[in-house]
Amino acid sequence: MNLADWRPRFWLRLAALQALVFLALAGVLFAGLYGGMTAYARKQLHLDVERELAALVAEDPTGDTADVERVLRYRGNDEARLGWYALFAADGKLLMGNFVLPELRAGWHEILYPDAATPVADQDEHRLLVLAQPLPNGRWLAVGRDTFLLTELEELYAGFFGWMSLLTLLLAVAGGTIVSRRLRARTDALRSVTEAVGAGELSRRVILTPGNDEFDSIGGHVNEMLDRIEQLMERLRQVSLDVAHDLRTPLSRLRQKLESAQEAAAEGSSERDMIAACLSDVDGILSTFAALLRIARIEDGSPRRSFARLDLSEVFRTVVDALVPVAEDAAHLLTADIQTNIFVEGDRDLLTQMLVNIVENAICHTPSGTRIRVTLAREAESFVAIVHDDGPGIPAGERERIFRPFVRLDASRTRLGNGLGLALVKAIADVHNATVVVGDSEPGTSFRVVLPPSLASDSEAAHTSAGAADRR
């Protein structure tokens, strides 16, 4: 599964979900508020109308409606037309007032005024809430209220709700982004460490925050796990080194005895040949052990004690000169383009061996007729060495693996070498703070070693004596 693909989607989904929930909550809240407020306002309006009607009826205890007419005449002149009143005869005819009812019936009416039948000067449209009631003398009294306040209130709320929704959405998105960013930063911290450890940086650890939260708890466990892995790796390394070291003495003695036996055996006898074969096997084992111990010594950084300024161009020249005839005998063509006067701080023996191992690797693992080219050049601040061959090449998936000890792409293990040559190359590059990679080079293989400028001192600088071994 592609982790890089999964990660952002997860946090994005989380942020979106959070925004949605937030928005839904806000919606429910506003809907409730809206419903409650408008219902309340409507109820107030009803109460208002009921009270007004009751007050008018109370004005007229005699039942002849004269007092009501007087009040209506006065109120009907209200310019603001806040109050709507109508007095109807028993047959429905409007006696006085400022609106008509389409149907005479006791109770609540909602009418549009003016309707098509009653053109008036006031062209504003009013939605009226009207309460009608029959009077004792058979007339009808109706009191209305314009509902524009209600409508305005509803519009106000609707607008308010709209803006608030937008704000809520923005806040939710912002909040979601911030939360997901922070979560991602925390998970990224974990991920970068596990990735680095996976890539071989066993000493990396998760940095814990003082907050001591869930992530720190996970980080703590990851760290414990890494400690354990590192211990196991170190123990494994130590065991193989101990084996190599402890077996050296008995093997050396075995070798001595074999040599004595060889000396004692008659010249040309089969015993002598057999012993010679045993000796060469023992030498093979001893050289593997020596190489293992050598890599371990290089990896712990001890060669740095004897680093000195050296002419890398000359080292390269010597190695190429030594190997040109060897390559020729193996039907390979070895050529070189080496820039002169490249000086670096380093270990001459190790840098020599590094180049020899890389070139020999090319000679031994490519078919006859392969061309091998060694170049050394200054590139920006660094020094770059490239060993390129136009052989069959190394599959992309194997390029990292070949630097591990005992890895041989030739599975039968019949070819030369103990599988430590390139591991040694890697160790030597590392101790010089150089990088070594197998590059993409179609066709063929290309080893690229980059020596950093910190080690690479300029050729114009004064030569330091090679005896200054104990620098650092």
Binding site: Q256, K257, E259, E263, L293, S306, L323, V326, D349, T352
Partner: protein, 225 residues
């Protein structure tokens, strides 16, 4: 030759002594540093073989003490690890050569012989000559039976080293160290290849072979018998 071996590992010391005695040499063994230093400074030896790690007094201290006392005894130091730092340290202390353990007896005897008969530093030879082959070290020219031979830099160095050690066996490792400064064992046949090229260049028709392969040991440049 009279040889002194300072080595605390009894088995190795006896193995060395046995082999050297078989070769007709007189051998004394010291099992620790103090005894070794005593013998080295009082006895008359041609070469001393000194292990680096010794009880009571380490190998390099013996070398320093001897050199401090202007004792020019040729010294071969044995080391467990052939690291640059250790080698440089050993040579700086005044050792003449070093050998990394474990080693083949032939390697040790070749090195001991090379040390023992080293010409005094004062005699500076400018030409080396053997069996009709003459090497002029100053003009860097090579002549065989009157015919000039054109050698490249490394080939010249290889021939010079073989000439300087004429009649003695030089091992593959000695050649790698002295001619190419390779202090490790290459996988490919660097020495064999160069020797064969050199042979082809200095060989002239029916002229006798000068560079001889000593099976299981190395090479030797000598006049045909």
């Amino acid at each position: 030759m009279r040889l002194l071996i300072i080595e605390d590992d009894q088995q190795t010391a006896e193995w060395l002594a046995k082999g050297l005695r078989q070769g007709g040499h007189v051998v004394d063994i010291a099992a620790d540093g103090r005894d070794g230093l005593y013998l080295a400074s009082t006895g008359d030896y041609d070469v001393a073989v000194i292990d680096r790690l010794l009880p009571r007094l380490d190998g390099l201290s013996i070398v320093r003490t001897l050199r401090g006392a202007k004792n020019a005894l040729p010294i071969l130091v044995l080391t467990a690890l052939g690291e640059t730092a250790e080698r440089v340290e050993g040579l700086n202390a005044g050792a003449d050569d070093y050998l990394t353990k474990p080693f083949a007896f032939s390697e040790l005897i070749a090195r001991v012989q090379a040390l023992a008969r080293r010409p005094p530093l004062s005699s500076i030879e400018t030409t080396l000559s053997i069996g009709g082959l003459t090497v002029d070290l100053v003009r860097r020219t090579v002549v065989r039976d009157g015919h000039a031979i054109d050698l490249q830099g490394r080939e010249f160095q290889l021939l010079e080293y073989l000439m300087r050690n004429a009649d003695r066996v030089v091992t593959r490792t000695m050649l790698l160290e002295h001619v190419w400064e390779f202090h490790f064992d290459p996988k490919t046949s660097v020495v064999e290849t160069h020797i064969s090229r050199l042979r082809a260049k200095i060989g002239r028709g029916s002229a006798p072979e000068l560079i001889h392969t000593i099976r299981g040991m190395g090479y030797s440049l000598r006049e045909p018998r």
